[in-house]
């Protein structure tokens, strides 16, 4: 038993090592280090090797022992796909990158008009197809563990122990996947940790298999020629080829290589560079060749040496064990363990993305109707749902493993799974090569193929009388002879596997094509179809949201919920800068909406992103130009149309700019008039009180001393107000004329804010709670501290005066971004109406303020001061409350350091 314990210890150490590797890669990825490794074609190729699961690691030998060279087909299919990468794989990767596709379900649903229904169908089919495969991995690990135990004790371990081991392995895998697979919400950001771990495991399993092979050929058989002689002597040496099985299996493994969610994840989603495919196109077949090199020798020697009746699926393990090579056996065990774990991790990751993006999120959004605009972060929901999906999927796998009781040859379960996911192939290939393919066609094709697969392959796999009665096998469903699960349409004689693959895919493809021809795609489908099929001709996005009536602020709030505040603000800021209009919110142009949708799609999938945007924008409209671009095949016409489109976009942009400029001019002229009458008003109002009360004091007899004091006091207060107004006006005029001399000093932002808060609190009685993070405020500034302080005091006093929340609160956030220091003052009040935001920094603009204290010059002065200091102060949208952002150039902030 000591050795079994040692094995468990080795396992744990190995898993710990993987954790470390994944963690280091994750850290390096975040810091942008070790790109040469993280983004190398080598790692890409190795990560593709999750194709080789425990099934291929252990099962290939078993397969060879049972059926001779046929196991080669499993390697042949993928090799052909990779060698022919130019036609299919490259296209998939290009589409995946340009549409930020998150999974195969996402790709199919995006292609067919961003249909969420289709995504759900694909997701459910994928879960059903892949769960047995996950169970298979658990089974192979526990079986290999008990094999060790048997060798140690001379008897098999009891079933409970194996189950317990299976359970803990499942828990460990779930933990690993949750930890490293859900770090980034955006699936298009690479999960470096997982990819590197998979690559390391790929190396381990290759070395393990080669080591066993070398041991068998040179250690047991005694050399190459002896081995060949033994192979010739055995039954396996005879070259028996069943053409239909070879073709069928090669085809289905090629299809599975493209359609398996985990393959799609590593090949398309995690792809960094299209050129990596070129290298993988020869490196990956080479890897597969190495993996298969020693399969036959191991099988032959195993059959020779091991007692009859031992499971050939575990020759890789039992051969070294029978020869007393514990070390080699441990290495071989680790190889199998690697194959199993890497497959489970990536498959679960891919499936969980699909489940959360296409099933959980749409349901969540549906339940929170109108919720796309409510504030709050849904990223937590997405991540949580992804984590729960991971647990659920591994849980399914574990349950299936427990229920199936570890029966069946490994290869058989693997093939069932392959044939299941291969049903995606017609919809997938049709979608990227044939513009006529429609959503209805895809749905019907998938449905038909899947049903036939369930009936002819999945259900019969449980054996007669398990789910399907023996009578159904013999006489067909409902007694109809044409519906026999292993001889459809009454045509017997085909191998059951080939029969199932042939009929399911044939019926799938035929119904897909027929229904596609009979139905008419809707405009969005046509556009997406054109883009997918012609992905190399125009990677640009021609499709647009038309006549957007979306409120940028709603979009901002929604984007913040999905992408997080920082990322969303960065995106909107960049767009606003690009559009060249000040502020932080860009106009919701068709271009921008397109880009935003793409960003969101990277996080929650195409269909959901589309639904969220249309919830705000109010449905999509496909423009006539877009349709023309799709309908017309000729490249010239396309070019011309897109030129026209660009021209018209340019023109309407210019027109909009002119309109803006004109409005601005009109506003300026109005402001000039208003300015004079405002000055008059602001000066005359206090004067009125002063004059009236001084006349009262002068002319009225018999005023009591209390009244006299009161009226004198009013005169005094109004005189002070008048003085302050004149001071402000002079201050502003000096600032505007640029005659001001700045008194630059160094000081810390913390002290400056402390001072400003103290001053503001002294002058304004209304209480307000401050929320600060002093740590962020440790910035040394080199600027005119008095002037900057004046700005701070003004903003704080405004919040004190005008924040009408029950418990007024002012949050001061300091952040350093790039070349700027950004100080946000955000209160929990009601915000400022959009209409007033443009004018609030103008002179004399008072927004709903009813006290006579301010002349509405404060913000105008602030803006002038910040302009002199080389920074800016502006209104910050999308925070919920009233918020101002003060920006200082970094050079000024850090010059003193």
């Amino acid at each position: 038993m000591a050795s079994l314990n040692a094995l468990v210890a080795v396992c744990l150490a190995y898993v710990f090592f993987l954790f470390c590797v994944a963690f280091a890669a994750e850290r390096a990825g975040v810091r942008g280090r070790a790109r040469w490794l993280l983004r190398s074609p080598l790692v890409y190729t190795l990560s593709l090797s999750i194709y080789c699961t425990a099934w291929t690691f252990y099962g290939a030998v078993g397969y060879a022992a049972r059926s001779g060279l046929e196991y080669v087909t499993i390697y042949l299919g993928p090799s052909l796909v990779m060698i022919g990468w130019w036609w299919i794989a490259r296209r998939l990767v290009r589409i995946g990158r340009s549409h930020k596709v998150t999974s195969i379900a996402d790709l199919i649903s995006s292609r067919y008009g961003k249909s969420n229904g289709l995504a759900i169908v694909v997701t459910i089919m994928a879960v059903i197809g892949v769960t047995p495969y996950i169970a298979l991995q658990l089974q192979s690990v526990t079986a290999s563990l008990s094999l060790f135990a048997a060798a140690e004790q001379g008897s098999l371990t009891d079933a409970d122990e194996a189950r317990a081991a299976g359970f803990w392995i499942a828990v460990g895998l779930a933990l690993f996947t949750v930890l490293f697979g859900t770090r980034n919400l955006n699936v298009n950001e690479r999960q470096h940790g997982v990819v590197i771990a998979v690559a390391v495991e790929a190396v381990v399993k290759l070395i393990a298999l080669l080591a066993v092979g070398v041991f068998v050929v040179w250690g047991i058989a005694g050399g190459v020629s002896e081995t060949l002689a033994r192979i010739d002597a055995s039954d396996l040496g005879t070259w028996e080829m069943d053409g239909s099985r070879w073709a069928g299996l090669t085809f289905v493994s090629a299809a599975a290589f493209l359609c398996l969610p985990r393959m799609f994840q590593v090949m398309v989603v995690e792809n960094d560079d299209e050129r990596h495919l070129q290298i993988a196109s020869w490196a990956f077949p080479l890897y597969l060749m190495l993996m298969s090199l020693f399969v036959v020798p191991i099988a032959v020697i195993g059959l020779d040496l091991l007692p009859a009746g031992s499971n050939p699926d575990f020759f890789v393990l039992s051969l070294p064990l029978s020869q007393g090579r514990e070390g080699l056996a441990t290495l071989s065990f680790l190889g199998g363990f690697s194959s199993a774990t890497s497959m489970v991790i990536v498959a679960t990751l891919a499936l969980s993305t699909m489940v959360s993006n296409h099933v959980v999120m749409p349901v969540f959004l549906y339940l929170h109707q109108g919720g796309a605009t409510q504030s709050g972060d849904v990223r937590n929901v997405v991540i949580l749902s992804r984590r729960l999906s991971i647990l659920a999927i591994i849980g399914f796998g574990y349950i299936y493993y427990r229920l199936s009781g570890g029966s069946g040859a490994l290869a058989a379960i693997g093939l069932i799974s392959f044939a299941g996911v291969a049903q995606f192939l017609p919809a997938l290939l049709g979608g990227i090569f044939w513009r006529g393919a429609t959503r209805a066609g895809a749905l019907v094709g998938l449905g038909v193929g899947f049903s036939v697969w369930v009936f002819t392959m999945l259900l019969p796999s449980f054996g007669p009388d398990a789910i399907l009665s023996a009578a159904v096998f013999d006489k067909g469903l409902f007694g109809i002879n044409g519906l026999r699960p292993q001889a459809l349409f009454g045509i017997p004689g085909l191998d059951p596997t080939v029969h199932a693959i042939f009929w399911s895919l044939l019926l799938n493809a035929v119904s897909f094509a027929l229904v596609s021809l009979m139905t008419f795609p809707d405009p969005l489908e046509r556009l997406q179809g054109a883009q997918f099929v012609n992905v190399f001709d125009h990677s640009g996005q021609t499709r647009g949201w038309q006549a957007p009536v979306a409120e940028s602020e709603d979009l901002m709030i929604m984007a913040q919920r999905i992408l997080g505040a920082k990322e969303a603000q960065r995106l909107f800021q960049a767009e606003a800068d690009r559009q060249g209009n000040g502020g932080y919110l860009p106009k919701p142009t068709a271009d921008f909406l397109q880009r935003l949708e793409l960003e969101l799609a990277g996080s929650v999938g195409g269909a959901t992103a589309h639904a969220m945007i249309s919830q705000i924008v109010g449905g999509t409209a496909v423009s006539v130009q877009d349709l023309l671009a799709v309908a017309d095949e000729s490249a010239q016409m396309l070019e011309y149309s897109s030129q026209l489109e660009a021209k018209s976009r340019e023109l309407s942009q210019t027109a909009a700019q002119l309109r803006d400029a004109n409005a601005k001019l009109m506003q300026l002229s109005d402001q000039k008039d208003a300015f004079l009458s405002q000055i008059s008003h602001e000066l005359r109002t206090p004067m009125t009180s002063i004059r009236a009360f001084s006349e009262i004091l002068r002319d009225t007899d018999g005023l009591g001393p209390l009244e006299k004091t009161k009226y004198a006091n009013i005169i005094h207060v109004e005189a002070i107000r008048l003085t302050r107004l004149l001071d402000d006006l002079l201050d502003l005029s000096v600032l505007e004329n640029g005659q001001v001399t700045l008194n630059r000093q160094s000081g810390s932002l913390v002290d400056l804010l402390d001072h400003a808060i103290a001053t503001a609190q002294a002058s304004e009685a209304r209480p307000i709670t401050f929320k600060r993070r002093r740590l962020d405020e440790t910035v040394t500034l080199h600027t005119d501290l008095d002037r900057l302080s004046q700005v701070f005091i003004n903003l704080i006093t405004n919040a004190q005066k005008y924040c009408l929340a029950q418990d007024p609160e002012l949050r001061i956030d300091v952040a350093q971004s790039g070349e700027r220091v950004v100080i946000d003052f955000i209160d929990n009040g009601w915000g400022i109406p959009a209409a007033s935001r443009d004018v609030m920094f103008e002179k004399f603009s008072r927004i709903g303020a009813q006290d006579g204290n301010g002349a509405g010059l404060g913000l105008a002065i602030c803006r002038e001061i910040m302009a002199r200091l080389g920074g800016d102060v502006s209104y910050l949208d999308g925070t919920g409350g009233t918020a101002f952002r003060v920006t200082l150039p970094h050079s000024q902030a850090l010059a003193a350091q």
């Binding site: 008059s680 009125t688 009180s689 009262i696 009225t700 009013i714 009813q850 006579g852």
Partner: protein
């Protein structure tokens, strides 16, 4: 009981001053500071005279005046308008809207008193 004057003005100190002046003459002075519902308040309190500021929160004095003149019940109500903007355009607008008397701030106390007295007298004659 003296005549009833309604003062629509939002500056606290000016309210205080005018109220003091008019009360001493024996008139009953009520005040209102919001422009938005000023018309309704005037209609329901039925004053003998309204002193109306131009720059009010919610609604401008001109709009209020137009509403008053548009209503038969208040079409003849004497309205003394005060403005601090003091541009000739304002006076024209006020006269077009049917103001009874127009004064620019800062005013002399006696002028206001005289104006109010005249308006109440004329109004009294007519009714």
């Amino acid at each position: 009981m003296g005549k009833h004057v309604l003062l629509v003005e939002d500056e606290l100190n000016i309210i205080e001053a005018i109220r003091f002046l008019l009360s001493r003459e024996g008139w009953q002075v009520d005040t209102h500071s919001d422009g938005a519902d000023a018309t309704d308040v005037i209609r329901s309190s039925k004053p003998d005279l309204v002193v109306l500021d131009v720059m009010l929160p919610g609604k401008s004095g001109f709009d209020i005046l137009e509403e008053l003149r548009g209503d038969a019940a208040t079409a003849d109500l004497p309205v003394l308008m005060l403005t601090a903007r003091g541009q000739s355009r304002d006076r024209e607008m006020a006269e077009k809207a049917g103001v009874s008397r127009f004064m620019t701030k800062p005013f002399s106390n006696t002028e206001v008193l005289t104006a109010v007295r005249d308006l109440l007298y004329v109004h009294g004659q007519r009714t």
